[in-house]
Amino acid sequence: MSHSLSRRPRAKQFAAGLFLWLATVPLVLAHDPGLSSIRLTTAPTGLEAVLTIHFYDLEAVDPDLDVNHDGRLDSSEFAQARNRLDQLARQSVTVAVDAEAPLALAQNPQVNLIENNNLQMHLRFVPVATGRRLMVTSPLVPRLPHGHREFIELSNADGKPMGEGFLSASANQLSLDLPVRLNGATAAMAPPSGIRFGQFFFLGATHLLGGYDHLLFLAGLLIVCRSLLKAFQMLTLFTIAHSVTLTLVTLDLIKAPGTVIEPAIAASIAYIGIENIFRPKADLSWRGVLTFSFGLVHGLGFAGALKELGVGSGGSGVFRPLFFFSLGLEMTQLGVAVMVFPTLLWLRTKPAFSRWWLPACSGFIAAAGIFWFVQRVFFGG
């Protein structure tokens, strides 16, 4: 897949050209403001929060942590500060569901000193049966060094991510969409934050256009079609087939390891190319079955793009991204066919095309398929 990442030369120039000189400015220098994280997990026993923060960042709140000023927090200093840190843990994060009062703690917080002088604060809030929105507030962040960021991630009991965001001193609250059931293992995942449905449409379109293998397969199908009706039938079969597997994989009903699917897609391209050479006049029913079968395989490949974005598993929050992604794919596929097929039809009226160019193009398609197959099997490409 290719992206248009290297566009916007003006922005690049803006960023690189105007700000490189900043390193000379003594007045703007400041120290590392630090970065902490809170991992929230919904579970049947309650909502668990694990705050991980470097002790150096906490010194802004409690300057007496590093008693001997050696830049480290040893176990004796940690033991001395234990009660204060327990108190701090209680005030570190509050969680409320659907604008209700903040959830109570189910048990006393637990603070551990872990590797690299990080502190880990474990909090468990009382279980909540239902809710639509979780409001996470950090009373601690505004007290931390100026510019400090706190990364929040919410996941369900299976470890599936449900949302994430940042807190800062000026914005120390974050609202996260919740699955319908807070305490169930089947909780669904909201679309990854920051991605709009229009972007799923765009993603579907760019996935097809950027995936040369899918385009080549389409070309292999269309190049031997002798009429618009046949082309339409092939495209419809391909679409139905890949929509089936795309949906099944996205809903986690079947698994599709990329190590199998990607070489299989390459093999399907090679096969289509070879068949075009040796059996250019294969009967429509055979071609239809072949197209449907290979469509199933390509659908598994399309699903990979959605899965990599974390879309899937559960119920709500999946269908709309899936719909818009599929729509993007199909519209682009149709667009490509509409643009290319009339030219192919015209070319087929030329005897030289059928005699020489069709096998040559098919040979190219077959060679590309074989190349990708070898690359994907042996070189992990």
Binding site: S6, V28, H146, G194, D283
Partner: protein
């Protein structure tokens, strides 16, 4: 329909797939999948920080307000889909990183520099040894006062891609470590490779540190002439630098013009407001200057800005307003700028905590050995009663010939305490020449030192 042929085709694909799976599994030695920990138990153990790419792509609080935010959001969106051409991803990460740097500057928010660092780490992960990643990370490390690490990275960068920017970064790291001779070589190479704004401002700062105010003014004025008038942040920064050089030269009218131009270019620029406040204060317009000190401290509440505000508030008799400002300074100073905080704590008039000042100044010197760190140490030693040691340390602070009012004031106070009759009047005279650069409390201290000398002269 020819079912045997269909079945054969499908069988072939499935067999091929299975063979691939087995082959890849053997070659890659896939570990067995790790089951997620039971949700009912609290997870402890090694901390796995979130991957840099996740941090970079997560929307920032308050994002989408400005054009800069929108550009950041666009690049985040471009980078969100996995895959893509590696070169294009590196270019996008690089641009996004510098946009975060720009945001850190625009909002006075070091948290964005932290994200720029994550961009550099991700670039390094995607393309080990990437010069772009080294330059970006080096810049961020320099901003975070990690000068030794910056130097290591800058030297690698110079070896990999000896560009003007690489030499600039190396020079910056060396300057902060007080290695001016080596820094001058790096800066000279930068000037030779690419004379322009970036190299001129560095050369101007270098000259100023060596006590060549006229040379610094000349180069900084030249640099100012090269700024794109539409680039408000750069224009404001350059104008306020020229304003401060003019203030030091005693050209208050020219200094005010440049400071006004800086504020006109960027109305919320903290450094520009600070410069104008200092100029107005030097003109004796203490009351008028307060608005600028307040604006500077509000935009960027670094210890230097808070100290300036508190001191000028006290000078205007606004003690009640100064108290909370100093409270904030005490809460944040140790972490935000330990060197300035050490100076604040050690300042005799405040006389609050010389032991902490000394400890902070000593720690700072381990990381940063420039003339101002030596000054902070000398001043803290003096505040702790170590007069002879402070006198020796002060020599290091003055060794490069830097013409700075505060350096000379500290040197004069220490020389007085050490009964150094030879140097005391020299330092006093130099501090007096530069008294327009001092805080009101420092000017008072200077006045108290000068009065006995004047009386002695009268007799």
């Amino acid at each position: 329909m020819n079912f045997p042929r269909l079945l054969a085709g499908l069988f072939g694909i499935i067999a091929l797939g299975l063979a691939t799976w087995v082959w890849r599994g053997k070659m890659a030695g896939h570990p067995p999948p790790v089951p997620p920990p039971p949700a009912s138990t609290i997870v402890s153990g090694p901390f796995v920080p979130p991957a840099p790419l996740r941090l970079i792509l997560t929307p920032q609080p308050d994002q989408t307000r400005t054009e800069l935010d929108q550009q950041i959001a666009r690049y985040q969106s471009d980078l969100r889909p996995p895959g893509g051409r590696p070169a294009a991803r590196i270019a996008a990460l690089d641009t996004l990183g510098w946009l975060f740097v720009a945001k850190a500057r625009a909002d006075y928010d070091e948290g964005s520099n932290k994200l720029a660092e994550q961009c550099a780490l991700e670039m390094e992960a995607e393309q080990p040894g990437s010069p772009e990643a080294m330059l970006l990370r080096g810049h961020v490390l320099h901003q975070f006062h990690r000068f030794q690490e910056t130097e290591v990275l800058a030297r690698k960068l110079v070896a990999a891609r000896p560009s003007a920017s690489a030499y600039g970064l190396l020079g910056d790291a060396l300057m902060e470590q007080g290695r001016l001779d080596e820094a001058s070589e790096a800066y000279q190479t930068m000037l030779d490779l690419k004379p322009g704004f970036e190299s001129y401002v560095r050369a101007a700062h270098f000259r100023w540190l060596k006590g060549e105010l006229a040379g610094a003014r000349e180069l900084m004025t030249k640099a100012l002439g090269m700024v794109d008038p539409h680039d408000a942040a750069t224009l404001a920064w350059a104008e306020q630098r020229v304003a401060l050089y003019e203030l030091q030269a005693g050209n208050l009218s020219a200094a005010k013009d440049h400071a006004d131009a800086a504020i006109q270019a960027r109305p919320n620029d903290a450094a520009a407001h600070l410069a104008l406040g200092r100029i107005l204060s030097a003109e004796g317009k203490e009351n008028e200057s307060l608005e600028n000190f307040r604006a500077a401290a509000t935009s960027n509440p670094l210890p230097d800005y808070l100290w300036q505000l508190a001191d000028h508030l006290e000078a205007n008799g606004l003690h009640d307003e100064a108290v909370p400002v100093e409270q904030t300074l005490r809460q944040t100073g140790r972490r935000a700028d330990p060197r300035t905080f050490a100076l604040y704590l050690a300042t005799t008039r405040q006389g609050t905590d010389p032991a902490t000042a000394l400890q902070l100044a000593e720690a700072e010197l381990e990381n940063r050995q420039d003339v101002f760190s030596w000054d902070a140490l000398a001043w803290s030693q003096f505040a702790s009663g170590q007069v002879t040691t402070a006198q020796q340390t002060m020599k290091r602070a003055l060794a490069e010939g830097t013409q700075d009012g505060r350096l000379f004031l500290h040197a004069a106070v220490i020389a007085s305490a050490a009964n150094d009759a030879a140097n005391r009047p020299v330092f006093l005279q130099r501090a007096d020449t530069l008294k327009q650069m001092l805080l009101p409390s420092e000017r008072r201290l200077l006045g108290e030192l000068t009065v006995p000398d004047a009386r002695r002269t009268e007799r």
